[in-house]
């Protein structure tokens, strides 16, 4: 379980938003990155950005928000399973208290769906939640039920910093954010492997193919696994395999028609049929989550772990939890990339305070601390975009595929 608790994509998403081809999107991203890399635009961009933000901060609206926020307590519902994240929020709480006189309280939950269930019970009335960490299915549900406060970007100056275009931050799993949530960080699907696992290739290797995984499994029986779908990381692993096995077939980025399903999916099941007998416990059990898989990895039960944090391996290594020669890998076609976000419930008791918290969390200071500290979650603001540590991005599949993949997986391997 992590903040990505979405088990199913949102079927109600707008069809055709991702109607471009994967390579086109990739090219666009590279182009943007290149432009950010060249020195002068960055300097220029930063200085104009800073001016804009100071103007916004001086605005009467924001001054009013700051005034209202003073003395408020913000109850922030967020997954509490990660010490680095908890530590980061403790740091943020201290900073926010001294800067804005707002008390930030991290309400640790085992699964953010607990917060969603509370909002459902409150049904839009006075809420106990002021701010929540959310994405995917949970967001789409809350948005559809009209339980979230809108127009966040126009109310929070630092949202101007967001690298919206470069990181394509308009959508959350195919559901347009439309100001109902604000990106906080970026996830990129990557694999962490013991060096021995893919030893056939050179240690400098950074990307792999499904065939690499299969041959590694043959050489190391019982040492590979993936989180059991519909756990989010497990489903993403399957999506990455599917994209790679079908050479990024364009139909994957459009509505999953029965025809497309019939033609595209068998290659995945064929692959899994070969893979499952030689993975951990012969495919008769799977880790329940990415965190459990990582624990098995650190206990040397597995040679492969999965993560959405591209900096996770480096952080684990610096804590000496995993071997220093472990490798970070991503799928050849690119890493599926998405964001995790912040939202304010409509019934929040301290909406002003929550806006101030978001404002701070998007500040250069906070975003820098997030990526440099023990968490290592990549920044989402223009001044801190770091193309060197950003993996090539793979476009998300059309959301309708998620349900299809999960259901068929359950049918074929779930019992």
């Amino acid at each position: 379980m992590m903040w990505q608790t979405s088990k199913h994509a949102n079927i109600r998403s707008r069809i055709g938003f991702f109607n471009s081809f994967g390579w086109a999107n990739l090219a666009l991203l590279f182009a943007v990155l290149l432009s950010v890399l060249s020195v002068s635009p960055v300097a220029l961009g930063n200085s104009t950005l800073k001016e804009t933000i100071s103007e916004l901060e001086a605005s009467q609206q924001w001054q009013q928000t700051l005034k209202e926020a003073r003395g408020q307590t913000v109850y922030f519902y967020a997954w509490g399973g990660s010490k680095p994240v908890n530590d980061y929020l403790r740091w943020a709480a201290r900073e926010i208290a001294s800067r804005y006189k707002v008390r930030l309280r991290h309400v640790k939950v085992a699964d953010i769906s607990e917060a969603v269930s509370r909002l459902k019970a409150e049904d839009g009335s006075k809420s106990a939640i002021d701010l929540l960490w959310v994405n995917g299915e949970n967001f789409s549900y809350l948005k559809a039920q009209k339980l979230l406060l809108g127009k966040l970007p126009s109310a929070i100056p630092n949202t101007t910093l967001l690298a919206t275009e470069q990181l394509s931050l308009h959508n959350d799993f195919g559901v347009p954010m439309e100001g109902y949530e604000v990106p906080w960080g970026v996830g990129q699907f990557n694999l962490i492997a013991n060096q021995s696992l893919f030893s056939a290739k050179n240690p400098e290797q950074t990307s792999i193919t499904p065939a690499d995984i299969l041959s590694a499994a043959e050489r190391n029986p019982g040492r590979i696994s993936y989180p059991r779908p519909p756990e989010f990381h497990g489903t993403t692993f399957l999506k990455q395999l599917l994209v790679a096995l079908t050479n990024s077939d364009p139909r994957l980025f459009a509505l999953a028609t029965p025809n497309a399903q019939q033609q595209l999916l068998p290659v995945l099941w064929h692959y899994l049929d070969k893979l499952h007998p030689i993975i951990w416990q012969n495919g008769s059990a799977f880790p329940s989550s990415n965190t459990e898989q990582l624990a098995l990895f650190t206990q040397q039960q597995l040679d492969l772990a999965v993560s959405f944090n591209p900096n996770q391996m480096a952080k684990e290594q610096s804590e000496k939890r995993i071997a220093s020669n472990a490798q970070r890998l991503f799928f050849d076609g690119g890493a599926i990339t998405n964001s995790h976000n912040l939202a304010i419930p409509k019934g929040a008791q301290s909406p002003a305070g929550a806006k101030v918290v978001i404002h701070f969390l998007l500040s250069e200071l906070a975003q820098k601390h997030k990526v440099d500290g023990s968490w290592g979650d990549p920044a989402v603001i223009t001044p801190l975009l770091d193309p060197a540590s950003t993996l090539p991005a793979q476009q998300e599949l059309h959301s309708s595929w998620q349900q299809v993949i999960e259901d068929t997986w359950q049918q074929k391997y779930g019992a």
Binding site: V116, R118, S288
Partner: protein
Amino acid sequence: MNNRLLAKSQLSPSNQLYSAIDLGLKSTAWVLVAIIALAPLFGVVIGLWPAAELDWAAISRFLGYNGLAYSVASTLLLSLVAPLIALYIAFMVYSQYRFNRRWQSLEKRLAPLLSLPHLAVALGLVYLFSSGGMLWSVLWGFVGQTAPEWLGLPRKSMLTMILAISIKEVPFFLLIFSAIGRQLAIKQWLLQGRALGYSESASWWLIVFPVVLKQSRLAVLAAMAYTLSVLDISLLIGPNIPELYAVVLYNWQTGFTPDEQTFAFLGNLLLIAMLGVLIACIYIHERLVTKQLANQAVMANPLNITRLSGVFTAWLGFFSLLTLAILATFLLWSLGWNTHSTFNTANWSTSLWQDEWFFMQGPLLNSLHIAFFSSILGVGVTLLALELQRHNKRYFPDYLWLLAILLPQLSMVYGWQIVHTSSNASYHSSWIILSHVPFTFAYSYLVLRGPFQSLNRHYELVAASFGYSPWQRWWKVRFMLLRPALLSAFAIAFSVSIAQYIPTLMIGAGRVATITTEAVAIASGNEQSITAVYILVQAALPFIAFLVASILAQRTRGSVDAEHQ
């Protein structure tokens, strides 16, 4: 004196007043007891009600869910087998320890053995005994080899799950047996059995077991209901092809598509039906066993096989060792040790403890005060419920009182949450205490009913003949005699309250963090070092409660010591 006596008996108007007040008090008490006992049912009805718009298509989709049948069957099997194994082991242990010098050391150590949370036992077991686990590594390390794969316990399987639950429930049943045994003339029965030429072990089975089995029905049911719906250890060590039912249900319950909502509703009904099956199984098992043993008794079978239970004299040693090994593992983890380090290279450090200790104090105090008040209230309401039934000379079926243990907790608390938020109530910790009371009540009812009902009424009769009023009799005799049982009930209720995650989070809205809300959230990240810190602290709280209770119980004498000693 005689005048006073005369005066009193002729004051009929005031007698009427007294009886009116008495009636008023009684009905108020009944209402209070009914509210607490029926709150779970109320919650489930509210919590499940609006979710469903049922049609046959949905039902058939539900029934067609791949793996549902397997999942239900394997979960039923697990919930049936694991508690029964624990029951049998516990009985054999009990028979080996009860009338022996070993009993005192067992009673003393039961407290720490009971307080290790389920999650800790599960984590510890796989960590110690799985292939590549610490124990095998150490053993085979001596001869410089790696342990063979087949020797290890699978990380996730039915076997692992059955093992973890049956190991963990043994001390619970021992506690129940020790409460039951105190009401029975077991020593005399055994004497009779032996006088008739049966071995002591055969006498235990032929004479004692049928009675103990019947009296521990509720405890078995509680253990089965727990196994049926436990989520955290199912996720961690349970088989997941197919998943255990609790996990499947949880996935539906936390999903938001219309299908998932419907499935969650039907799934909860199915859960209740499964519970019904388990209840039926308890009765069938009881009948079969009783009949079988009666047959053996009729045939005067010496039951030599029962001598095998002699093996279980080693149980206390084994279990203490296991507990210590698990605790040691967690301690090592919490100090920074991991699989990549040997003792020399590990980053030994107490920084994690120092870091977290600062943030733990608030949750610790919250946990303590919530558990203290909710268990006091739970035990108090239990006494009230039992007393009212005694007055009525009629006891309601136990299932009615144990609804909090039997009904699905997530829907139940969700129902309470709807009522709580719609009534605009605050998130003060007193609400959390109230939300724990149905659970502390149910568990203390489970522990107290036996001792309460079997308390010899002649003690109070004698006290009455000495001139003590009903209130005085109740306090000076009944209550005092029940003290040891009350202490066990309090300790169990306390640890039940400590362990509550869902009601604490949902009713307290996260305003009131407890050590358990922190621990569960942190354990969801599977980071072993910090999880170890919180599990150790979480285990320490019930440990303190059990320890205090057992020290106090050793200083008080109750109905327990009255007869049959």
